[in-house]
Subunit: 126 residues, 2 copies
Amino acid sequence: MPKTKRKQHDNAMAAGPAQQGQQLKGRLWLEREGQTYLSWGRVVLLERIKEKGSVSAAAKSMGMSFSHAWQLVESMNSLAPEPLVQKQAGGKGGGGAWLTPAGDQAVGEFWDLVQGFQQWIDTQKQ
Amino acid sequence: MPKTKRKQHDNAMAAGPAQQGQQLKGRLWLEREGQTYLSWGRVVLLERIKEKGSVSAAAKSMGMSFSHAWQLVESMNSLAPEPLVQKQAGGKGGGGAWLTPAGDQAVGEFWDLVQGFQQWIDTQKQ
């Protein structure tokens, strides 16, 4: 049973308009091999990697530990048909990371899904 | 960040067909006053109360503690425009509980939403 009222709330990816004091919310994710592949947090991480140029800077910007972010990237890369993130081992300035074309495409497609989901939620009478 | 891969999986309320090894999943819930009002677990609890005739039997059938179930019922009753569950204080045989017409309606409307959500998910190209 979900005890985590607060967590559910934080995890909302789409929210409908308040109707008579009531609001429909929801979230989406993609699985591969029965495991979480892409979710809100993972896709934001990919975007931050693109923006910041490294996994460590991306993790920092999200208040996420480096090891957790690294683990998520490894998970996405191993589940994806081809890697989403390419990493360069760090020298003095730390390693760099960037999205592959497959990574860019995965991010775009995920937000398209979320946008469609938001539209679906907006049309629901609760 | 969601660490709870397993939990997300368990919380799926709708799942699309596997497409090239990938599956879209999601969940929905309703909030009132910024708090969870109806979710998968809460609505199943309502159904079990209807079926079993008491909060304690309903909780037991779900492997949920009585106090947690009671708390969820109190939460739904206080958030709803009118109570969803009516309870009778227990005598020798324990108290009874049943759904009000508003409770029946809330359950039906929630499953209608879930069905529509499943249909939406089924139509998505991932």
